[in-house]
Amino acid sequence: MKLFSKEPQIQQTEFTASQTWLEEPSLTPAEQLERAEKKTRQRKVIMISVGSIALIIAIILLMVNLLSRPEPEIVEVVAPTPTPTETPILTPLLSRILEAKQRTEAIDVREAELALPQVEFEIVLDEPKKQ
């Protein structure tokens, strides 16, 4: 409320409008009071407008700050992309193709791992030769 104290305003009015005051016909005290009140109202409107704009700016800054803050609870591990030319949709498909291809290549048709054991199937204890 100190901003709207009347004493300096009256002095300001008297000083700035001195020339006009000399040229214009003298005003009655009621008219002078009405003019001063009008100016005070105008200043109030200006101050309220400035205050509202500052408040809106503060809210916008607050929102921007909240939205742009990093989220510590979600840790995203960025895997290095091996081939930048691949489209992201096809990458899992390609990896499955490569995996299946490797499995097929790994089939060793000549493998002897499960071959029949190298054992003698015809073990016989013959009678001794007669002398």
């Binding site: 929102m63 193709i97 291809k101 097929t104 048709v109 499960l114 204890l125």
Partner: protein, 284 residues
Amino acid sequence: MKRLVVLFSLIFLVGLLRAAHVTAQTEELTPTVTTIEESVEETTVEKDIEDERQALKALYRDQIQSYQNSYRKFSLAKTQFQNLATLASLEEAVLSTREVFSARNIVLITYLDQLFLELTVNPSYDEEIRQEYLNKIKQLRAELVTFNQLVINSQDRQALAERAVGFIPLGTELQSISVQTRKLLFLGKFRSSAGMAQQLTQEIKASHEANPVSALKQGERQRAYQELTSADAVVQTAWEKSVLQYQTEEDFSNQAYTAFIVTLSPLQSGLIRWYTLLEQAAQL
């Protein structure tokens, strides 16, 4: 007062928006967690199978070693008995014959266990045939266990001579099961591979449909589809040859098995070419 209310409302609204954003991100993460759990389960099962496989291999190696030692001992004892024909050499020959018979049975039992494991865990060519061979393996294993007990109980040369004759049908059956099981394993693996190639071909086409491209690129895709169809036909022909060989061959000798293996080479190379084409098509 009104301004304060507006300010608090705005802050509340911003809070709600942030909460919704975080919830959405958490929901996105949930399927990934499920997939990882499934993958861990699969890896554990695969590890168990591999452990069992390695344990059987190690046991088989030891038993083969033991059999070879027994066979050497048997050969010496037999020669001595043939030459000396003494009671002592006969006793030694009977003992070593019993030992080598038993060592051979034990090796064959473990070999059957290996065949059973591989036939169980590998992709199936035909579920009915697989079950039939699993039963045959189980049956022969039980027969070998019984036969081994008979061998252990055999006390003289006459009894061991009977065991030698008794083993002949078991040996023939084992040879047949071994050859057929190995053929089935290969057919199962290649069938699974061909099925996967067909599935991936369909998935690539679906993926292309979902991602339209320029007319020029579409032309490349069409050419790739033609090549894939041709690769499919090549694999199909090779597959039919292998299956025919498997179904018509009644000879279970090693020569017949080798003839079957020869038919697998074009099948394998056809499949590898198909996968190479798929690899290229997936990048179009």
